[in-house]
């Protein structure tokens, strides 16, 4: 650059010397000094221009031309505001939707976990392939063994989630409690906002109960009291000393939207006693690999560990494998297919938008043929013209991108209210630098895609013709016409793919929501009631509480039909228990049979309208002192007692200390979908709440009262019994059912929306092609009409042209959609990916929309006045 400057500075001197020498030469030839100088200047030419041209040699011509092109493009776009608005809007829609979806995909799937060196973090879990158990937790005994024996891990920690009741601060409230081993904080390299994290001593049994609060809880419940650390709070009626506050961004489990407090496992009323159990799989274990240790090495160590554990305690550990997997994959793995499908779908929307804009640009390019031909004639190179047109589409792309980003901000906001609550890491979704970069890159890629075709044709040699053509009918080459038809066909095919996806998901969602859950959710309200376990510590207390509660609820007007259940189907997950059929030969080891377990009060089946098929339901006589009884579901009876009379048979199952108690089957009830609506009902077994009580459960009430007034009554009755009892998650059962299908609803809604956009864009595309074709053929139509063509035959002509496009589009789209629908199969419920009804429906819909889209141009064609049309030329 320095050289450039020096050269330019010296140029003046050089030029002056040149003219001086020439002047002197001229004087020597006999001119007067004035003449000589004038002649020298004449011969030299325009000094200013020479200076400019020389400067150009040194300047970055490319950049200057680019700036020129950008300004020219801006001028051209301003000149046709209608076109610009349509193109920018279409593009903004495409880029905005893509950016919004990408922000979700990025936050959930791609963004590294918010911990130091997230790549070293793994999850350690157990699996038992023989029994199709792919993933479950590890008990504390085995965890402690792994932690002390392993060399591959820098640290290992375990956690579990639970709920404790905070009292003494305003209304009693239920806190999401993370029950952890002390090392989890150092493992995640998390620093407290105030105070300290846990020390190894805090994790020992018999230590002083300590608790760490989340910043959110500290601010909302304790008014950000800086002196809270060191003081005590009451959790489930026991005092815990606050030792630290964790900053708001910290999560130890990442699955839940929020975590309120952390306590050591030993201090938890439920899980504390489990620490010495040799069986069970209840802890979620994470580890940090030592630097340089690979996943395979860690896995090899854990394989050896599994073998050693199985040898030590075959009864509990035989057949169980300890596995290691990257933590991030484990957290987001399940949401990946649905999110990728969403991303692909929204990508298709953008592609359709691009095709649409390409089509618009193409028709504009042909009306601009004269301008371009003129510029070529004036000496512009082909490359220069292509560059100029590409710059124009890049400017368009950038405008669309900016508008798209604005839309994406709004879209992300709208999305967050739609997002299913169980989507992991959803709380981190936002438009950040990565997302903006994506949007920007996308707008350039998009502008290249839609700018390519018109530029290609602009550089076509036939443009010379452009000058000769009359202004009214600018020339469009056959290639260009074919390209426009091709683009319209592509649009229809792409729209077909999206609409098929939308159709399949909608069909699947309809199937899912119309499936019979096995109970009648209408007019049922449920409420979670949880008893503080330090205060209510014995099964007798739990049972007594439930009896009192139901008695008082029954006495309330309008709440007569009520019952307790733990757990409620489709609500907080299922409890799966192994069982034994009394009298059957003992099963070979490692082949346990299991069924889902629910403990219910006698009225449960009546309230939920679950039918009794054989035998009897529970009644008041099934008390703790009476013989133990059980009910089984139809599937249970069919699977384990085929062609037998089940009544009177006995099953052994239950929670300790009742694990080995034989219970007589007194009846068979209808099947219930308890895990999810999409899963076929499995075997279920019920026991009377009185014979298997829990520390709370779900109250279900069938009532004609509004859910709000039912909620008020439930709260009042509960607080009359114990003012410190929290009543949470009051909702109607239809709401609970609704929440259970939040993920499928989310994707169905979005893909449906994308399908709609695709349909609209395709309609616009067809409209554009047909109306352009009609205006081009006005002359021809005029002749036809003059020769006696009826309006109907003109209509047929135009409809035929449109139908050809649609049929071609369908011919391409159907096989492509068939091929791609396979990828949806994991998201479909009782709908085949090649569902003929969906394909047929979509084809009909597209055809209908295409015909409607060409209605306006067709009408114009029918009204062509031959006199006007012929004079046109």
């Amino acid at each position: 650059m320095k050289r450039r400057q020096r050269m330019l500075e010296e140029l003046d001197q050089d030029l002056r010397a040149h003219i001086e020498i020439e002047t002197r030469d001229n004087i020597e030839r006999g001119m007067t000094p004035d003449e000589a100088h004038y002649e020298a200047l004449r011969k030299f030419g325009n000094v200013r221009r020479v200076q400019e041209e020389t400067r150009e040699v040194w300047s970055r011509v490319w950049l200057e031309q680019l700036w020129q092109d950008v300004r020219y493009a801006a001028r051209m776009l301003r000149k046709s505001p209608g076109f610009t608005a349509v193109a920018v809007l279409t593009l903004a829609l495409g880029i905005g939707a893509n950016t919004a979806i990408f922000s979700v995909v990025y936050a959930v799937l791609l963004r590294p976990l918010p911990y130091a060196d997230p790549g070293q973090l793994v999850i350690i879990f157990q699996a038992k392939p023989q029994e199709q158990v792919p993933f479950t937790g590890i008990n504390y005994v085995n965890f402690a063994e792994c932690r002390t024996q392993s060399h591959a891990f820098a640290e290992m920690a375990a956690n579990q989630a639970h709920q404790l009741t905070l009292t003494g601060v305003g209304e009693p409230s239920v806190l999401t409690t993370m029950v952890v081993t002390p090392e989890i904080f150092s493992l995640l390299e998390a620093q407290p906002l105030l105070g300290r994290t846990f020390l190894p001593e805090d994790g020992k049994r018999g230590a002083t109960p300590v608790v760490i609060l989340s910043e959110n809880l500290w601010r909302s419940q304790f008014g950000s009291d800086p002196n809270l650390v060191g003081r005590s709070i009451s959790l489930d009626k026991r005092l815990f000393t606050v030792v630290g506050i964790m900053p708001a961004g910290f999560h130890s489990l990442l699955l839940t939207a929020h975590e309120d407090i952390w306590i050591p496992i030993a201090q938890d009323p439920l899980f504390g006693p489990w620490m010495s159990r040799f069986s069970g799989h209840w802890l979620r274990v994470i580890g940090r690999l030592k630097p340089g240790v690979s996943l395979a090495q860690a896995q090899a160590e854990m394989d050896a560990m599994s073998a050693a554990l199985a040898k030590e305690d075959p009864a509990d550990n035989a057949g169980w494998q300890i596995r290691v997997a990257p933590l991030q994959e484990n957290i987001v793995g399940e949401s990946r297919p649905a999110l990728l499908v969403l991303l692909a779908a929204v990508g298709l929307v953008l592609l359709i938008a691009c095709v649409n804009i390409a089509n618009l640009l193409l028709s504009r390019a042909s009306s601009r043929a004269r301008e371009i031909a003129l510029r070529i004639a004036l000496g512009a190179g082909r490359k220069r013209i292509v560059r100029q047109l590409l710059t124009e589409s890049a400017v368009l792309g950038l405008l669309g991108g900016i508008a798209g980003i604005v839309l994406a901000y709004w879209g992300v906001h709208a999305l967050s209210s739609l997002l299913p609550a169980d989507l992991p890491r959803a709380q981190t979704i936002r438009v950040d630098g990565w997302v903006l970069g994506f949007a920007l890159a996308l707008s350039f890629v998009a502008s290249f895609i839609f700018g390519l075709a018109p530029s290609f044709f602009a550089a076509d040699s036939s443009l010379q013709r452009g000058l000769k053509e009359s202004a009214g009918r600018s020339g469009e080459s056959g290639g260009q016409r074919r390209a426009r038809g091709f683009l319209a066909v592509a649009e229809i095919a792409l729209a077909m793919v999206l609409l098929v996806a939308a159709g399949l998901l909608m069909r699947s969602f309809t199937m899912l929501t119309s499936v019979n859950p096995g109970f009648n959710a209408e007019h049922v309200v449920k409420a979670d009631i949880s008893l503080p376990q330090f205060q209510y510590s014995t099964p007798q207390q739990w049972s007594a509480f439930s009896d009192t509660l139901l008695e008082r609820i029954h006495a309330e007007p309008g709440l007569q039909d009520s019952a307790m259940a733990a757990p409620l189907p489709l609500d907080e997950g299922n409890v799966n228990l192994g069982f034994e059929i009394v009298g059957n030969p003992p099963l070979p080891p490692n082949t346990a049979v299991t069924a889902d377990f629910t403990s219910v009060s006698p009225d449960y089946f009546r309230v939920m309208e679950i039918p009794l098929l054989r035998g009897r339901l529970f009644n008041e006589q099934d008390s703790p002192s009476a013989p133990r009884v059980a009910l089984i579901s139809e599937t249970f009876a069919r699977r384990f007692f085929p062609n037998q009379d089940v009544l009177g048979k006995q099953l052994k199952f239950g929670f300790p200390p009742d694990g080995d108690v034989a219970r007589e089957i007194v009846g068979v009830v209808g099947d219930v979908r308890d895990i999810s609506l999409s899963e076929a009902p499995g075997p279920m077994m019920y026991v009377p709440f009185a014979q298997a009580p829990f520390w709370g459960g779900q109250l279900v009430v069938r009532s004609s009262l509004s859910s709000a007034s039912a909620a008020v009554s439930i709260r009042k009755v509960t607080h009359d019994i114990d003012k410190d009892l929290p009543v949470t998650d009051i909702a109607t059962l239809p709401e609970t059912l609704d929440a259970s299908v939040a993920q499928p609803r989310f994707r169905t809604l979005l893909i449906g929306l994308f399908g709609l956009i695709a349909l609209l864009l395709a309609a616009v595309g067809i409209f554009g092609v047909i109306s352009y074709s009609v205006s081009r053929r006005t002359h021809e139509i005029g002749i036809r009409v003059a020769l006696g063509a009826t309006p109907a035959s003109v209509l047929r002509l135009i409809l035929g042209e449109s139908a050809k496009l649609v049929l071609l589009g369908l011919a391409v789209g159907i096989p492509v959609a068939l091929g791609l629908a396979r990828f949806l199969s994991s998201l479909l419920f009782e709908v085949h990916p090649a569902d003929p009804l969906t394909f047929f429906g979509v084809a009909v819909l597209l055809t209908a929309v295409a015909l409607i889209a060409c209605y306006v141009p067709a009408r114009r064609a029918m009204r062509v006045d031959p006199m006007v049309a012929l004079r046109y030329e």
Partner: protein
Amino acid sequence: MSTKEQERRIELLQGTLDLLILRTLLLGPAHGHAIAKAIEFRSDDVLQVEQGSLYPALHRLIKRGWISSEEGTSENNRRAKFYRLTAKGRKQLALETSKWDKLAGAIAQILRPSEQEGKP
């Protein structure tokens, strides 16, 4: 159409001017005016170079590294810039010259038969 041909001719001339400058400098370093004079003189005044157009061409050649410039004193004792052919420029000249010969030969071959065909 005619404007377009004109454009081509200018382009052709530009490349040719570069070639002529390089050829002139083969005889030794020279300042701008001397180069212009030499081109006029050696082509028997057929090629009338607008003298000013020499300078953008000279700078283009400097930028490409085919010639270099140095301070010197002209005949009338004025400081002026002297341009000198570089080794790279020498190679380029050889290349361009052979290209030019080929082009001229090819054009001559095309033109001659076309003249004959043109006769009815």
